[in-house]
Each structure stands twice: as C-alpha cells, then as structure tokens.
Symmetry: C3
Subunit: 329 residues, 3 copies
C-alpha cells in the first residue's frame, strides 16, 4: 500500500506530484513558498509572464464543479506559458472510478504533461498519480474532505508575509473543521512549519473527531478561540451540512461563530483574518470584516496564483531532472 505522503516525492526526495501537505518535509514546503514569493509581482507592477512551461500542456480535470479554483490554475498555467486544456467531467461512481482512469490514460496519450485534478472522493488524486507515466505529474486541487494542498500552501505564504516566524504563532481555524479539506491541509502544513498553537474552533457537531491526533486544540467558543491569536482563518460553510443534530442553524451559527466586528471584539488589532473564499456573506463572515483592515483575503487570492505557478514549475523541473537521472544511469 503506497503512502501518498511518501509517494508524492521521487527517489531523491524531490517533489514529484502534489497530493497532500500531510507528511511533506519542511524543506519542500519552504522551497515552494520561496519559489512562489519570487513569482509575486512587486507592488503596483503587473504580473509577469514567464516561459517555464512553454510547450507543455496542463489539463484541468474537474470532476466537481468549481469555476473559481479552475480559473486560478488556468491563470497560473497560462502565466507560465503552458497550453491549458479544460475538462469538466461528471464522476460516475458506478464502476469504481475506472472510467476516470480511462480518461486519464487517454489524455496522457494526447501529450498532457500535468494534470490538475479536483474530485469528490477522498484519495482520488493519489489514485490518479499511481496511474500516470513517469514524465507526467498530478496536482491535487481538492479531493473529497481529504486534502487541498495548494490552498494550505497559499495560506502559509500569506501568513509568512505578515508573520515570518512560524515558531511563534497562534492560529485559530474557525468553522466546519470536521468536513474541511482546507482545515486538514492547513493543519498539516502549519504543524510541519513549526506553528506551536493551532486551535480548531467549532460547535460540537462540526468539531474534529480526534483533535489531539492532529496536535491541535479544540475550542468551542469563538471568544476563547481567538484570544491572543495572530491569525483567524474562517472556513466556508456548506449550507447542506447545517441540517444536522448538534449543528446550529445558519443564523445561530453566524451569531456564535461568524467573523464580525462584534464577535471579533477581543481579537488583537495586528492579527490577520483569512478565508479561502468564496465567502458566504452573513454566514461565516460579514462584508465589513471580509474587506476590513485586518482582512488578507484578497492577498490570499493573489498568493494563490504564485503558489500554483511555483508548484507547477518545481514539479516540471523535477520531472526533467528525473529524466536526466535515468539517462545517465
């Protein structure tokens, strides 16, 4: 049984696929953040187009609709001068994902170099990665409630640009942490980068089943959760999850856990407020807070392009290096 955490590295420990932040070594996390930072345009400058992926073909393979995430990968790939193929497909669960693998093989035969995959099932990205050729790579753009590594990486980059010392940081993740791939991937990345205090803040029905397993602290009220933290990260609420025992109504959730001037009264003035977007105004956050002075939500979007460029560029480089290794061997 392959372990996705190891499986995404090649024999030399270089990034080969991006499947999860779980188990990803700190030096690779840092390599990605540093590379992304180099892609960020200087203030007031337009983003530059770089030729690193010229001649390569990136396929956006989305088995779950997400116009927004798809667009971030498309923009990043085009900024690297790649050709982009967009495929929105329906996932049929009837034959254990075999049709999906047939699609993968077909696109690979067409000359796709890099697959960006979003899929409703946990582990789908690793499943695809196991089936691609040695010179083809897979990037996980979100699989089930399992992982969303580029989101965690762009969040880490955003935090680092405001609070460079991860070893001296308190972070509160607020919302449906139980079902959130964003929370999962953030916790793994931030733990590895050395963040000592990560709190998950949620009502009982949305709390992680075993917070201690991930090394995070469960907190059941927002006031306590945000006390003295440097970062508050709100999660997007899936309305369909709210009709559940021990889960408050949307209105009640907003009153108790929504990020607003009122509920964040006790937040340090220099703390930053994050959200993976798109926001549900009036549910997990209100507009005043989302666009207020402490919010870095739009920086997250900007950093997201740089992170996706960085991951694609690093992996494309490593695939080339691996091909060179083999030629010499």
């Amino acid at each position: 049984m392959t372990d996705p955490a190891q499986f995404q590295l090649d024999a030399h420990g270089r990034l080969r696929h991006l499947l999860t932040t779980e188990g990803m070594p700190a030096d690779i996390l840092t390599e990605i953040l540093d590379t992304a930072a180099s892609f960020l345009p200087a203030s007031k400058e337009p983003p530059r187009k770089v030729p690193l992926l010229r001649g390569s073909t990136v396929a956006n393979l989305f088995f779950e609709p997400s116009t927004r995430t798809r667009t971030t990968f498309e923009v990043a790939a085009k900024r690297l001068s790649a050709d982009v193929i967009d495929m929105q497909l329906e996932h049929s669960s009837k034959n254990k994902g075999e049709d999906d693998v047939d699609t993968l093989y077909t696109l690979q035969a067409m000359g796709v170099d890099l697959f960006v995959i979003r899929h409703p099932e946990n582990g789908a990205a690793a499943h695809f990665a196991r089936h691609v050729a040695p010179d083809v790579a897979v990037l996980n753009a979100g699989d089930g409630s399992n992982a969303h590594p580029t989101q965690a990486l762009l969040d880490a980059l955003t935090i680092r640009r405001h609070r460079p010392d991860f070893h001296n940081l308190s972070v509160a993740i607020v919302g449906d942490v139980r079902h959130s791939r964003v929370a999962q991937s953030n916790i793994h990345a931030l733990k590895t980068l050395g963040v000592p205090d990560i709190r998950v803040v949620a009502p009982e029905g949305l709390m992680l089943e075993d917070p201690s397993k991930l090394g995070v602290t469960p907190v059941f009220t927002l006031a306590e959760g945000i006390r003295d933290v440097d970062v508050v990260m709100g999660l997007r609420i899936q309305r369909e999850r709210m009709h559940h025992e021990r889960v408050p109504s949307v209105e009640e959730y907003h009153r108790q856990f929504g990020l607003t001037r009122h509920t964040l009264g006790g937040l340090k003035p220099e703390a930053i407020i994050m959200h993976p977007g798109p926001i549900n105004r009036g549910v997990e956050i209100d507009a005043e807070t989302a666009y207020g002075p402490q919010s870095v939500i739009l920086e997250q979007v900007r950093n997201g392009i740089a992170i996706r460029m960085a991951v694609m560029a690093i992996i494309a480089g490593n695939v080339k290096k691996a091909a060179g290794d083999q030629t010499q061997a």
Copy 2:
C-alpha cells in the same frame, strides 16, 4: 451619485471604461472608429495578430448566456495577444449583486486587467466599474435593457464605411425599440455623431415610451418608416415579449414589420440593411434579405472584431498613461 457617462472618462477626458454611448463625446467615438478601421484587414487579407495586449489577462464575465458575443470578445482579445479567461456565471439576485462583486474582487486579485461584462441588470457594468482598481478596466457587453455600446460602435463603423457623412443621413431602427439595449446605444451614438433623422419603427406595444426625449421620431408603419432612409436596422425579436397586449403575434409582426423584399419594396436601392444578429429567420427578417445585395450584416460581424480590439487597445493604453501621470505627479 456618479454619472456613468462621465464616469467612463478619466480626469483627462480619456476613455477609462466602456459603459455606454450615452454622453460619450464625439471625438472619443471617432477615435474608436478610426482605431477600429486601422485594425480591419485589407480585402482578401487574413486578419493580423498584434501584440498590444501581450501579457494582459482579459476575463469574459458573463452572467447571461451568449455564446456569440462572448466569442467576439474572445477572438478580439486573442488577436491582441491577450490571455483570455472565460467565466459563465449565474447571477443571483438574492443579495443585491454582492456575490458578483466578490467574484470581481477575486478575479482582480488574480491579475485580470480587463473585464468584459454581460449582465441581466441595468447599470451592472457601471456598478462593476465603480469597484475595480485604478489599473483595471470594465467593458460593457450588454447590461439589461440599458446599453450595448460595442454593438452601437460597430454599427456606426459599418454605416460610416458606406455613408461617410453622418450629418446627411436618415436611419430607421425597426423592432422592439422599447426593450432594446442595442437601440438605446445606437440612438445615443448616432445622435452624437450628427445623424439628423433617426426614426424608431414599431407597433405601439414595442414603441419607446418617450421618443422625443431621445430626439428620435416614432413611426408606426414600416412603409412610412423606411421612406427615403439610407439605413434600415432590424432588431432581434425576443419571442417571450410577443405575448402581450397591443403586441402582434410573431406571424403578424413578420407580415407588418419583418424586413422582406415585399415590405422593403419602397426602400432606396442604395440603402443598407443591418441586423445585430443572430437573426430569427422568418420573424424580423427573412434569409433572402439578410443575405441579399443591400445587407451588410456580415460586415457588421467583421467590424465587431475590429471595434472590440480598438476599445481594448485604447483603454489599455489610457490606463498606462494614467499610471504614468501618477508617477510624475
């Protein structure tokens, strides 16, 4: 309260956004027409690709489906060497367009330079323009029944290539002028360019409520409407508008106002026949007329690419100039 007519110009009176032809100065209209003419390929030559927008990202943000209009902007942007992001979104009216603005902010953070917006609500383009950053521009590709300025500009270019003297021209606009953004934008542009005689030709139920306010003449029969005119412009009929008191049936409309050899018997032989497309054959026009010797419908399409290229190129240039002004100040 900002006035869209002024708001689309910058402090130096240069075109900053394209929201409406209403109140647009004649010299700017002429600048756009001249620039577009320079983009038109010589007869029998293929269209040239120019690098004016290389490195820029154009986002087609369509909150109303329109494969055809979307394609014209995509072709124009690609011919200027821009990268194009296509987003077909559903407009939710439930929260006063706030979600739409969140989408705008998000795409802007990704590095979009120019938004092409189609939207079902009047004033949507101006609303978006008020929210973009100083180096980002908005082009209105049709908002509600308000405005469709690139259509009016391409119509003006088409007319000018056949009848260069706007001050000596009679134009008949035939059809549902009451609900038509195409009619609105054409009337504003042609008035400003000096056309002395503009007639709106429609049955009572589709007539403008106050034609004199726009300085046009209402005419209730086609025979009278087209007498001695140089240009007949048919409008696309929305079938869903025809089930209405005082509005004839589709068949009756075609008999009375459809552009056909029969109804246009009294038209001057040198007059041109226009239509914004796509045509409803057998409703507002028949095929014989649409593809007949007086029709310039396909020239309109060709000119439409040149107009969209011109508007994008002019605005991109003006944004750069404005940035230069600020650096010097």
Copy 3:
C-alpha cells in the same frame, strides 16, 4: 448535386476540406499518413509545438457533445500554434439547419480559418463546406452515421506503424457496424489503401445492410471473424441501440462479441487490438484486453493528435497555394 468525395478536393486535386474517406485518392491518404508520422514525437520525447498555423483561428463547432474528440482537435490546433475558439451548440432541426449556417457565416466573418464540425446529421460537414468562403476550410469530426474521417486516418496510421504492408492484411471490424461512422470511414480508407480482407463481425441486427456494396465480408461469429486476422477493431456500443429486435442484450453481446481473453483465444499473438475509445468496460471490451500486450488503443490516441495536426497543416497549406494560383491567373 455535388459529390462530397470530389468536393473535398480542389481543381488541382489537392485536399481542400476533409469530409469523408470515401473516394479519397490513395496518394492523398498516404500524404496525410506521412505528414502525421513526421509530427509524431520520437519515443520518450515530448511533443513539439510547431508554428504552422500561427495567426490562424480554428473553431471547434460541436452540435453534439463530445469532450474527448473536441479536446483532440483543440490539442492538435494549439500544437500548431493556432488560436482555438470552442463552441458547443445545440442543433435545432426545426428549420433545416439554417440557424447552423447563420452561425457558420457569423464565425467566418469573425475571421475563422478552419472549422472542425461535429453534427448529428448525415452530410452536415459537406453542407457546411458548400457554404464557406474560398479561403476557409471544413474538417468533419463526425456527422451522424455517415463519416468520421480523422478516426479512420488515425486508425490507418496506427495499423501502418505495426503492419506497413496494407496489401497483405486481414482486418476484422467488430460491433455495431450498421450504425457506425467509424466503421464506414475505416472501410473506405482501408479499401483504398489496398487491404484485401476486411470482415465486419456483428450479430444480425447490427450487421451492414449490404456488405458486398462496400466490398467487405459479413461474419456472424467472433471466432470465425478473427481467425488469422492481423487487426481486430472493436466499435463502441451505443447502449440505446441495444433494445431492438434481433439485437442481443448488453450482457449477451459481451459474451458473444466482447473482446476478452476468452473470446479472443483464437487470435494470432502478433495481431493488434484497436478501439476508437472511449471504451465501455465490460461491454465491447474488458480492461484486461484494452490494456493488454496486443492493445494499441493508447497509440491510437497519440496518433490521433498527429493526424489532426497533419490534416490541418496540409489543408492550410493548400488554401494558401490556391490563393497563389488565383493571384497568378
């Protein structure tokens, strides 16, 4: 009445459109195969991007959904450096395809150089070709049950790379040959290339009505059909065609005609197994066979990109030559 077979050649006998393999001269088939072979990357090398269509616009005009075929043409066009416009349209049969022709004229006026057309009706591609301008070309990507010439060409290329001598070959086409445009186009191409023994293998309800007219041999059992053949080509089963008198159930079809280790027991070990994709696992083929040592299915996909590049490049070149002829005349 124009004959599509002749109509796709220009006055000098050069390829002008690609509508059908029926009646296409052997030297043109061979020219396409040779050109495609030159576009195939050497083993282990990534595909090259060539500038042959730089500045050209290719429109994918799909009146029938097919993500996969659309993608192959998009990849091929981008690898030739063309701009690609994607249009997925609904075909309305109510006015004899007139709306479709209006769309064609409109896109042509925008500057489209090459149309790739998929359409549910037989003869649609030829119909479109009759309406385009002298410098615009049409490629048939499948029309009704009539023709799918690029599929036949990529199949011929795949066969040639394994069995270079067409004059000494036995080919079995297995499945719903009665309704298959893939079968039609393959039979025409392979006959012209000199294949002496083509068998169509199907149950009675899916058999060609008049196999002798096409010069092929009907066989009603798989065991007999594959005896001593060099190539077995499975066709995709349309499940909706299976509810029909004299047509077996899907299960029964799989048992009798599905390509499996069991049913192919009598196949020569050096024979190749083909399928146009996407496969229905467990219906016309099983996964073990589709990905087994005799399968060349993924080579077909790879060759399909090269074939589409070749056809586009050849036709673009011929259109230029024709324009040169006219200038001199």
